[in-house]
Symmetry: C2
Subunit: 248 residues, 2 copies
DNA sequence: GAGTGGTCTAGACCACTAC
DNA sequence: TAGTGGTCTAGACCACTCC
């Protein structure tokens, strides 16, 4: 959509906000990954204290305009757009690569276990059924980006551990290898501050804002649940668009 | 869902993070709106500088645990849950009130205007058609919370300006007064840093994180578009849950 | 070792809200 | 007027990355 009315800008009262707006404009046309002036340089060039210069860069980090790494510097940031809708989303790996970044998936665990009660209920499995518990971590340009857990009925995916290539899409495997024709049964997205344990699993010190994505896939062919998932995706790295239907 | 494995906590390295965790635990059981110790008090009680105490409260504000107001203090915060799905969502006013907060809606503009091109296309209107342009601002406990624009075909809602009570739900009016039986045609949600003009319209100095919610409602009875909307909702005030289908 | 961001201090003045 | 948070300074030491 397009904005209709314009509103007069008010000049920021604080020095650090005025400087932040200035740097944001300067940085807007630079490609992602470009090095931004350091705190010390900003301070010297604009005659402010280092703390003020620091406040500028922190403000821009809050706006997701830059990303800061201790010991390395401050860099221009861009979020990767990722659409989620009633249909199965496009491959994560492909989406990230198309955005010009380097995706990497690592499977931290593939184990066949007795299904916990709530998983059994959600997957409509009989008592004492086993499920494949899958834990995967994904990075973008080496930066931890998502952490995901899935549960699949073990009888539907025999030998999944061997068949799941490290780089491949789980959905492709379910579709092409096992012929399950997965479709969305339900899904749910919500924004939250990552709890401490998720931050640890992501290898982060801070507690990032993250989207919690949960859902279940059913097999169109078999008419039964195939996968139950919950994943955490950092909101500063992904611009997740949740949509249903489509505009004219 | 329920977490499956636990992860060992690491003690925060920085003093302000350790203190933030401590205060967060203390504050967890207090009701929303409770006054939290001030920067000065925190500093004195824990033998740290005011800047460190300030860093603690700012960290908790980033985690949406507290809300800070200049001149008044720091207060325990709770986000209001608001579900969005294929069906028309529950009344905003009712949802906020049920959460124990005081909602207020003000209509800033109700005007019949010539439809801009993109609105005309989306609403499938003929050339030179007129639409009702509706701009509404909502507050929660006096705090600006959302800013929304809607466009409706003028011929479908004659006399809307008089019929739209300040406190009432637009959807109820469309359904009960005009008998339009509105249903969702499409919708889309996305998280973003509010642009400067939206921040101004919300009456805020900072640039809050906000959910951009867009969509179109069609009349089931008439089979034609009824309302096109775009709204911004502050992510620190609302826990917006986006869902499709439902878990078992 | 040089440069980056992360933490922390002591102190100052200001803007805003309440009473 | 007193108390709150918001901005800003000058300086210090630390942790981390890269060469």
């Amino acid at each position: 959509m397009t904005p209709v009315a314009t509103v007069q800008r008010r000049p920021p009262s604080a020095a650090y906000l005025a400087l932040a707006d200035e740097v944001e404009r300067d940085v807007a046309q630079l490609p992602a990954g470009t090095l931004v002036p350091s705190e010390h340089e900003l301070a010297g060039r604009h005659g402010v204290s280092r703390l003020t210069a620091r406040a500028v860069l922190q403000e821009l980090e809050r706006r997701w305009v830059v990303r800061r790494v201790q010991g390395r510097g401050t860099f221009v940031a861009r979020r990767i757009e990722y659409r989620i809708g009633p249909d199965i989303p496009a491959s994560w790996t492909e989406t990230v690569r198309r955005a010009g970044a380097e995706p990497r998936s690592t499977t931290e665990r593939v184990a066949t276990v007795r299904a916990p009660g709530w998983v059994r209920r959600e997957l409509a499995l009989p008592a004492r059924a086993t499920v494949v518990h899958l834990v995967r971590r994904r990075t973008v340009d080496g930066e931890p980006a998502t952490w995901a857990e899935s549960w699949l009925p073990a009888d539907l995916v025999p030998g999944l551990a061997e068949r799941l290539p490290a780089e491949g899409s789980l959905h492709h495997v379910l579709h092409d290898v096992y012929g399950l024709e997965p479709v969305r049964a339900w899904y749910r997205a919500e924004l939250d501050v990552a709890p401490d344990d998720v931050a640890v699993r992501l290898g982060l010190r801070a507690r990032p804002l993250a989207l919690v994505l949960q859902g279940r896939l059913d097999s169109r062919r078999l008419g039964r649940p195939v996968e139950l998932t919950r994943s955490w995706a950092r909101a500063d790295l992904f611009r997740i668009v949740f949509e249903m239907g489509s505009a004219t």
